[in-house]
């Protein structure tokens, strides 16, 4: 099964190399990884989606925890959480097809962030299946020029932050 891990790390040079290097040399199955600043300037939060059984998941957590710059890891799969991914999708769009695309965008509650004579850029946030579904419709009906996706980020519901959560 998939696990979403919130990994809090020191905001120092080389941290991402340490983490990605560890993941690759231990041959862990990582589906996505997304990093960004947090409410504390010296902390970076990395969301990692791991595919594998409990034993593999435990190894990922234990090995990552050994890195000196990793402060805390919490498994957001074990608690109620909100999980999102952001995608920007550039589709082929002529004057004739634009209105259909706008319809699709509305149905998905996505938004159009750029338009020109030949293309449109659509922004969508949601879980992976929702983004996959939009991509599929657009690809089949209109043709996608390029896609960029952030990988999953996640936050627990309720008042307890990941830094205070047990694993």
């Amino acid at each position: 099964m998939k696990h979403t891990l919130a990994v809090l790390v020191e905001n120092k040079p080389g941290v991402l190399t340490h983490i990605s290097g560890l993941i690759s040399r231990r041959a862990f199955n990582i589906e996505s990884i997304a990093a960004g600043y947090t409410e504390e300037p010296d902390t970076t939060r990395i969301t990692i989606v791991v595919e594998g059984d409990e034993i593999e998941q435990e190894q990922v957590v234990n090995q990552l925890s050994k890195l000196v710059d990793v402060i805390k890891i919490s498994d957001l799969t074990a608690v109620e959480s909100i999980q999102r991914e952001l995608a920007l999708i550039k589709v082929k769009a002529s004057a004739a097809t634009r209105s259909d695309i706008i319809n699709i965008v509305e149905i998905f509650r996505a938004s159009i962030v750029d338009v020109n004579r030949e293309t449109m850029v659509i922004e969508l946030s949601g879980d992976e299946t929702k983004i996959d579904a939009l991509c599929q419709v657009l690809a089949e009906d209109h043709g996608i020029i390029e896609i960029v996706r952030t990988g999953r980020i996640a936050l627990s519901r309720g008042p307890v932050p990941a830094k205070n959560q047990g694993i």
């Binding site: 080389g14 190399t17 034993i55 435990e58 190894q59 050994k66 890195l67 000196v68 990793v70 402060i71």
Partner: protein
């Protein structure tokens, strides 16, 4: 301890010397170069010793040998680029065996970093997979903190090597020096004392086990817990086996000790592992050289894993119970728990102990004797007898390493220094000089093959220059013995590039060229006298010992086979 300066204006280089003083460093191993010129200028006045090796690889292995023998942090210094990359094998060697090292490397100046400058290498990137942690110091004010953390991380928790890469201009920059008194790392808090409830659960398993087995590894040596272990062994009456790295933490002649387990382990140890119903793995990591075919390893047993590193649990074998924490805490905690039922436990396992001792008597370690040939096992036994099992023994890697493990008869912890995890040929000679440097009053004996000798033979000159009285026993079989053994057993006897018969190296002359006494043993009757002569010489000695070429290390569990599927050989074979 001497009063050390604080809050003083000094250069980065001086701050390093002062920090090493603060860490009570008494010796560093190193090799100078462009990026570390300023550091070496400060070293000129340092109170601690600097051992100049002939190669950076020699320096890092020497620091490793020093650390293994003394239990202190080994320190090595090298310059940027090739100086730093020459440390890589030694750092990886230390990492695999959890040896505390601090490697200080010079880096090109900050403005030159990232421009493919002369002698620039990203040593931080290169060593990331083989260090416990590493630093690149680009600001002089970060230097004391980085060094403090480096030493702290290297020696605490599960020990390991730490690299501190320092830009050249940092050495010359000045700072208001203050060495931190403590370390605050949000992401590094090793757990020494674990959960006592798990000890209770282990105790319950101990009471119901009919065929329990204690299995010890390098963690017991590293944490200096052999006394605590002895008490646990005696309270429980359980039989004990050891990994290569655990040798010495149980005296070889202890009546419950069945010997080394694994690929070249004893019949009794491997049979006991196969048959046991409870395996207490203490400070072990279930390496493939120990387990053989993983799925069949101790297949009848519940496995209880004691380790300070939570990431070791369930990495290779699934543990039924885990005891996280320093084994120096968990071993006595368990011993305390079993104390009041000691007699009951011992009676409970009586028939199992008898079975183990039967295996031991049935197929003890043995080898063929030959009146005309110097048998390597006999050399090891002779050295053991001459040193009464009390020397610091260093090995290189290969057949001789296994013969030493099998036949020396280790009595004391930290008395076998060997590259167990990485299996680094060329480790032995520099490690031996490092060990001798740390243990000037103990005999240090190196066993090495004729192949490994040529990998770092330049360091012989260092033993002469500093008069480190290491006794170097070269097991000269004119081939790369362990590889040849595998070729003989598994590759149809095609000795592809393992013969050294064409070698023109005369080890006696090599020794003498470097200022070391050289001796040679051809015949079995010379062995005792020559070894005694070598031991009596106050300086370093090389003894070239001619042993048979075609000889196998036995018993042997072929790679990927079950532990009880041993090729026994010896007298029976």
């Amino acid at each position: 301890m001497k009063e050390r300066v604080t809050n003083l204006e000094m250069t980065g280089a001086e701050a390093i010397i002062e920090s090493l003083n603060n860490e009570n460093v008494d010796v560093v191993f190193g090799y100078p170069g462009g990026a570390v010129l300023t550091l070496y200028d400060a070293l000129f006045k340092a109170e601690f010793n600097h051992i100049l090796t002939k190669h950076e690889q020699g320096a890092v292995h020497a620091a490793d040998g020093y650390a293994r023998a003394t239990g202190k942090v080994g320190v090595v210094i090298a310059t940027s680029g090739p100086g730093a990359t020459n440390l890589v094998t030694g750092i990886a060697t230390a990492y695999m065996d959890s040896i505390p090292l601090v490697a200080i490397t010079g880096q090109v100046s900050v403005p030159l970093i990232g421009r493919d400058s002369f002698q620039e290498a990203d040593i931080r990137g290169i060593t990331t997979p083989i260090t416990k942690h590493n630093y690149l110091v680009k600001r002089v004010e970060d230097l004391p903190g980085a060094l403090k953390e480096a030493f702290y991380i290297a020696r605490t928790g599960r020990p390991g090597p730490v690299v501190v890469d320092i830009a050249k201009d940092v050495f010359a920059a000045s700072l208001d020096y203050h060495y931190p008194t403590d370390v605050k790392l949000r992401g590094y808090r090793p757990v020494y004392e674990g959960n006592l409830e798990t000890i209770d659960k282990v105790f319950e398993e101990l009471r119901i086990a009919k065929k329990p087995l204690i299995f010890v590894g390098g963690g017991v040596n590293l944490s200096d817990s052999s006394e605590e272990l002895k008490s646990l062994i005696e309270q429980t009456g359980f039989p004990v086996i050891s990994t290569l790295m655990g040798l010495g933490c149980v005296p070889f002649d202890h009546p419950q000790f069945l010997g080394m387990v694994g690929m070249h382990g004893t019949y009794a140890a491997n049979m006991a592992t196969t048959e046991c119903d409870l395996l207490l793995g203490i400070g072990v990591r279930f390496d493939d050289r120990v387990t053989g075919l993983l799925d069949e390893f101790a297949a009848k047993a519940k496995i209880i894993h004691f380790d300070i590193d939570p990431a070791e649990i369930n990495k290779n074998v699934l543990a039924h119970l885990r005891v996280i924490g320093d084994v120096k805490w968990s071993i006595p905690a368990l011993a305390q728990r079993v104390k009041h039922v000691s007699k009951e436990l011992q009676e409970h396992v009586q028939s199992w102990i008898e079975k183990c001792l039967f295996w031991q008597e049935e197929k003890p370690l043995s080898y063929e004797q030959d009146a005309d040939l110097v048998m390597p096992q006999a050399v090891v036994e002779k050295v053991s007898q001459l040193t009464q099992g009390n020397a610091v023994i260093v090995t290189d890697v290969g057949q001789h390493q296994m013969w030493v493990a099998q036949y020396y008869g280790f009595k004391n912890p930290r008395s076998l220094l060997t590259s167990g995890g990485l299996g680094t040929m060329g480790y032995g000679l520099p490690a031996a000089l490092g060990a001798q440097c740390g243990m000037p009053d103990r005999p240090v004996i190196l066993f090495i093959g004729d192949g490994g000798m040529m990998m770092n033979c330049q360091e012989l000159a260092v033993t002469a220059e500093y008069n480190f009285p290491v006794k170097v026993l070269v097991f000269n079989n004119q081939c790369l013995g362990m590889v040849a053994q595998w070729q003989r057993m598994f590759y149809g006897g095609r000795y592809s590039h393992t013969s050294l018969k064409g070698s023109t190296t005369d080890f006696v002359k090599l020794a003498e060229a470097m200022g070391v006494k050289g001796l040679r043993v051809h015949k079995p009757e010379e062995l005792g006298l020559i070894l005694e002569e070598a031991m009596a010489i106050p300086g370093p000695v090389v003894v070239d010992i001619r042993i048979p070429e075609v000889l196998d290390v036995l018993p042997m569990v072929p790679s990927g086979a079950r532990l009880d599927q041993m090729i026994i050989g010896g007298k029976e074979g």
